[in-house]
Amino acid sequence: MFLARVIGRVVTTQQLPGMLGEKLLIVQPLDEQRAAAGDTLVACDAADSGLGDIVHVCDGREATLALHDSYVPIDATIVGHVEEFAHDGPAPRISAGDVEAPGAPRAGMPGASGASGASRAPAPRPPRAGRATQAESDAAREASRRRGAASEERDERELLP
């Protein structure tokens, strides 16, 4: 897991069906000085992020667990927006007003700094066009979750020595 800044967005239409509706953002990993640290990469967005946001990214297999459909080949997902980063060195704190690129206000963005109580989950997404009923969506998601879990089980049984 690491900190990063959102610097761009990727648009794809020819893709695996499970990727439909997932937002793909280009992110620049950061160090504690808020300087670029490592190569840019593309991450799925599970936190309604925008250009310039400082975000918390989960990488690896666990990145799929933050998405609606976990049976997708995703190895990086944005799981939170960084409001405060208290540091032990000379770099100043990242505060809510420190986002460097201008962006339109979004629902769910943090208000007062220093909040450590109940988190606000990202705003629920509207149902995608083409979904017949909520029950069907839930069933499809559950089936996908089972596929993902079965896949992980297979990995552990067959691929590990």
Binding site: L16, G60, P73
Partner: protein, 108 residues
């Protein structure tokens, strides 16, 4: 995930049966400004990408989260062809033949 360019294919006749019937592409990494990085992977192709296509690929155990790669010894998978991308609100790449991807302030 990373952005890459399909620069070639790999043909292998002697191989583990678990990777039979999979198409393997050689993908060279690209940075966010569409410059080639000096790093390559061999990735299983799950969506039929063509030579020269710019694609997204995932690495690690996540690459096995597709019906084509599930249960197989695969650690890199192409899962999307890129239409376009922008950095700092500036269009960096757009696939030939597509209409311009415009990003209006109201959209975000």
């Amino acid at each position: 995930m990373l952005i890459g360019k399909v620069v070639g294919t790999v043909v292998s006749t002697v191989k583990d049966p678990k990777v039979a019937a999979l198409k393997f592409q050689i993908v060279q990494e690209l940075d966010e400004r569409n410059r080639l990085r000096n790093r390559y992977v061999v990735a299983a192709d799950t969506i039929g990408a063509g030579q020269g296509d710019l694609v997204l690929f995932a690495t690690g155990s996540s690459a096995r989260q597709t019906t084509l790669t599930d249960g197989r010894p695969i650690d890199a998978a192409i899962f999307a062809v890129i239409d376009s991308w922008d950095v700092d609100d500036e269009l960096v790449y757009q696939k030939e033949g597509l209409e311009a991807y415009s990003r209006s302030p109201a959209a975000e």
